[in-house]
C-alpha cells in the first residue's frame, strides 16, 4: 500500500496570549511512500514529525491537503477506520491485560463478517507473537516484561490485524544502547517479512540511516530533503541537513571564496574555479580530512581519541564553528603527538560549501 501526502498542512491555534497567529506544525507537506518501503521521518524535536505520524493514522486531521492510502482518500476517515497499526513511543500496552489479551484486543474489535472465531483469533495472535519472538511470554502482564519485550508486544499488537500501514513513533527511544541496535535490526526484519509499508519517526539520525529505505529530513514543519540515506548524507541540500546527519557531526568553518580558491582563515584549502568571491560556510565531514605534513589546512593539535577501530584527531581552528574539529583517520596513520599543530589536506568529495545567508548548498567542481 503506497502512501501519498498532498500539500498537507497542520496548524494549531496559538496558546500564548495576544498571539493571533496559528502555530504551523507541518507546512505544505507533499511526498509519496512507495509500497512496501520503510521510511524514516527524521528531525529535531518540534519539527513536526510526530504530528505527521498522527495525521497519517488519523488521530489528528490536517488543516488542508489530502492523504491517500493506495488510491483511497483517507483524509476524512477517522483513526478507527483507517486500518493502521500504530506503535506508540511509550508502547501504550494495557497494563491490566496479559500479553495475549493485548494482542487479541484489536481482533476482538472487529465486527460482522470480519470477526473471526475464537480459535482463529488465538491462531493469529500467536502468529504475530512468533513473528516478534514473544510467543513464550503470552501469559505475562506488561509490567513483568523488559522494555525490549514490551516493544515487541506493541509491534505484535499493531501487526496482528494486518494493517495497511504500520506507523512507529520513536520506537527505540526507550531502549538502552545495546537493545536499540538489536531492535532496529528486528524492525527491519519484520518489515521485510511482512512487506507492510512502514513509516517511523526518530530524532536519531543513526537509527534512521541504518534501517530506512528512504529518509525524510524535517525542520520546523518543512521537508528539507528526501532520499536514500547515503545519498542524503553524501549530498545534503543545505547546512541544516549536513549538520543533522553523521556522527561525529560535520565540522563547519566560516570561510570565503577568493579568486577561485576556498579560504579557511588564511589557508587556501581547495581550488574552486568558477565560484564568485563571497563569504561562505564550509562543511567538512570527519572522514574528509587527510593527515598531510604539507597539507594546506593548519590546526592547533589538542589530542587523539581512540574509539575501537577509529582514531579521531581532535584539533581547534579559529575559523571553526564547532568547539573542536574531529577528523577520523585510518588506524595505520601515525600522529606525532609532540607537535603543537597538525596539518590536513581535504578530500573534495567530503567538503560542502553553503551560502552564508540562505545556507543552501553551493555546488562546485574541484580540480
Amino acid at each position: 500500500m503506497k502512501i501519498v501526502l498532498q500539500n498537507v498542512t497542520k496548524k494549531f491555534p496559538s496558546r500564548s496570549k495576544g498571539v493571533r497567529e496559528d502555530v504551523v506544525a507541518v507546512r505544505d507537506f507533499s511526498f509519496e511512500v512507495p509500497d512496501g518501503q520503510l521510511i524514516g521521518l527524521l528531525g529535531p524535536s518540534g519539527c513536526g514529525k510526530s504530528t505527521t505520524l498522527n495525521l497519517l493514522c488519523g488521530l489528528q486531521k490536517p488543516t488542508s491537503g489530502r492523504i491517500f492510502f493506495g488510491d483511497d482518500d483517507v483524509t476524512a476517515l477517522p483513526a478507527e477506520k483507517r486500518g493502521v497499526g500504530f506503535v506508540f513511543q511509550s508502547y501504550a500496552l494495557y497494563p491490566h491485560l496479559t500479553v495475549l489479551q493485548n494482542i487479541l484486543f484489536p481482533l476482538e474489535n472487529l465486527k460482522g463478517k470480519d470477526r473471526l472465531s475464537k480459535e482463529a483469533m488465538r491462531e493469529k495472535a500467536y502468529e504475530a507473537a512468533r513473528l516478534v519472538q514473544i510467543d513464550e511470554l503470552m501469559d505475562r502482564k506488561p509490567s513483568e516484561l523488559s522494555g525490549g519485550q514490551q516493544q515487541r508486544v506493541a509491534i505484535a499488537r499493531a501487526l496482528v490485524k494486518r494493517p495497511r500501514v504500520l506507523l512507529l513513533d520513536e520506537p527505540l527511544s526507550n531502549l538502552d544502547a545495546r537493545l536499540r541496535l538489536q531492535t532496529r535490526e528486528e524492525i527491519r526484519r519484520i518489515q521485510r517479512e511482512t512487506k507492510i509499508t512502514t513509516v517511523f519517526v526518530t530524532h536519531d539520525q543513526e537509527e534512521a540511516m541504518s534501517i530506512s529505505d528512504m529518509i525524510v529530513v524535517m525542520k520546523s514543519g518543512v521537508i528539507q530533503q528526501i532520499g536514500k540515506p547515503q545519498e542524503v548524507y553524501d549530498n545534503p541540500v543545505n547546512l541544516f541537513v549536513a549538520k543533522f546527519l553523521g556522527t561525529p557531526p560535520i565540522n563547519v568553518f566560516s570561510g570565503r571564496i577568493d579568486g577561485g580558491r576556498l579560504m579557511i582563515g588564511g589557508d587556501a584549502v581547495l581550488a574552486v574555479p568558477g565560484l564568485d568571491d563571497q563569504e561562505v560556510w564550509v562543511g567538512v565531514r570527519p572522514e574528509g580530512f587527510v593527515l598531510d605534513d604539507n597539507g594546506p589546512l593548519c590546526c592547533n593539535f589538542s589530542g587523539v581519541e581512540v574509539m575501537g577501530r577509529d582514531i579521531s584527531v581532535v584539533s581547534t581552528n579559529a575559523a571553526c564553528e564547532n568547539a573542536a574539529i574531529r577528523a577520523i583517520i585510518s588506524a595505520e596513520s601515525r600522529v606525532d603527538t609532540q607537535k603543537k599543530t597538525v596539518r590536513f589536506s581535504l578530500n573534495p568529495g567530503k567538503v560542502f560549501i553553503f551560502d552564508r545567508e540562505t545556507e543552501a548548498r553551493i555546488p562546485f567542481e574541484s580540480i
Binding site: 478507527e80 483507517r82 500504530f86 499488537r157
Partner: protein, 297 residues
C-alpha cells in the same frame, strides 16, 4: 538496623499513644462491657458475665427494625450512588465547555450542612395542612395521589432516606472519580481508537479496569459509611427515630446510651459490637471479590 527500628518506633510513639488511648482501649472496653450484664457506669458495678446483652439486643424489635433499615439503606444507596457518580464523572470528563461550573454544582452538596440539606428535603417531601410539597406536586401532574413522605408509609420514608443519602454521598464520589478518570493516560485511548475500539468497549475494557482501585475504594468506604448512617435519618425524621420506625444501628446505640429510653451501656455495647462484626464481614467479602476485579498498576 536495631537503632534504626528504635528510632522508627520513637517517631510512631505519639500516634500510637493517641490511637491506643482513644481508639484501641475504648474498643476493648466496649467489647468487655458487651459481656457485662447490667453494667452501671455511675457505680461501676454489674451482676454477671455472659451473652445476655446480645440475646436482649437481638430480640429487641427496635434493634431488628434498625438492622433492617440499615441493610436496606446500604444495599440501595451504595451501588446506586457509585453508579450515578461514575456516570456523571464520565459525562463531566467528556465535556469541555462549562466543565468547571458543572463540577462546582455537583460538589455543592458536599460543603452544605447535613441538617440544612435535611430542611430542604423536608420542604420537598413533607405534607402539611397548607401544602403537599414539591414532590407531591409532581406526582399530582402524573395523576398520582399525594403521599406523606415524612410521616407516611414505611416505603415512602425509606425512599426519601435513600434519595437523601445518595444525594449527600455522591459529590465526594464524583470528585474522586473525576480525578481518577483524568489520571488515565490519554495514550491508551489513542491506542484503542487506532485499533477501532467502540466507545462502550473502551469504557468497559480499558477505563473501568484502570480506575478500578478508585471504584473499589469508594465501594468499601461507601459500605462502611452507609452502615454507620445516623445523622441523615435525624435530619429527616427528627431524634425520635424508633417512633418513626426509621432508626439505624448507630441510632439504636445512641438511644441506648443517651436517648429517652437510654442508660443501658451494656446493650449499647453489644449493639456496637454486632455492627462492628457486620461491617468487618462485609468488608472481608468485598476484599475477596475485589481481588479478581481490581487491577493495581
Amino acid at each position: 538496623m536495631e537503632k534504626q527500628s528504635a528510632k522508627g518506633w520513637l517517631y510512631l510513639l505519639p500516634a500510637i499513644l493517641f490511637l491506643g488511648v482513644f481508639m484501641v482501649y475504648p474498643l476493648i472496653d466496649v467489647f468487655i462491657y458487651s459481656f457485662e450484664e447490667g453494667y452501671n457506669s455511675a457505680s461501676q458495678t454489674y451482676y454477671g458475665v455472659g451473652l445476655y446483652n446480645y440475646s436482649y439486643v437481638l430480640r429487641d424489635p427496635y434493634f431488628l427494625q434498625a438492622l433492617k433499615n440499615t441493610f436496606i439503606l446500604v444495599i440501595v444507596t451504595v451501588p446506586l450512588s457509585t453508579g450515578f457518580a461514575l456516570l456523571i464523572s464520565v459525562a463531566l470528563s467528556s465535556i469541555r465547555t462549562l466543565r468547571n461550573l458543572y463540577q462546582t454544582i455537583y460538589f455543592l452538596p458536599y460543603v452544605t450542612n447535613t441538617l440544612a440539606v435535611g430542611l430542604v428535603f423536608m420542604i420537598l417531601f413533607k405534607k402539611t395542612p397548607y401544602t403537599d410539597g414539591l414532590a407531591n406536586l409532581v406526582i399530582g401532574w402524573f395523576g398520582g395521589e399525594a403521599i406523606d413522605f415524612i410521616d407516611g408509609p414505611y416505603w415512602a420514608k425509606m425512599f426519601v432516606l435513600c434519595v437523601y443519602t445518595i444525594w449527600v454521598v455522591m459529590p465526594f464520589k464524583i470528585l474522586i472519580l473525576t480525578s481518577a478518570l483524568a489520571s488515565v493516560d490519554e495514550v491508551y485511548y489513542n491506542a484503542a481508537r487506532v485499533d477501532g475500539t467502540s466507545k462502550w468497549r473502551t469504557f468497559v475494557r480499558i477505563t473501568l479496569p484502570m480506575i478500578s482501585p478508585t471504584v473499589f475504594y469508594l465501594i468499601i468506604t461507601g459500605f462502611i459509611g452507609a452502615f454507620k448512617a445516623y445523622s441523615d435519618a435525624v435530619a429527616l425524621f427528627g431524634t425520635d427515630l424508633n417512633a418513626a420506625g426509621m432508626n439505624t444501628i448507630v441510632g439504636y446505640v445512641y438511644d441506648m446510651l443517651y436517648g429517652n429510653s437510654g442508660g443501658y451501656p451494656s446493650y449499647a455495647s453489644a449493639a456496637a459490637i454486632i455492627l462492628f462484626a457486620v461491617v468487618l464481614t462485609i468488608t472481608c467479602i468485598n476484599l475477596l471479590i475485589s481481588r479478581k476485579h481490581v487491577h493495581y498498576s
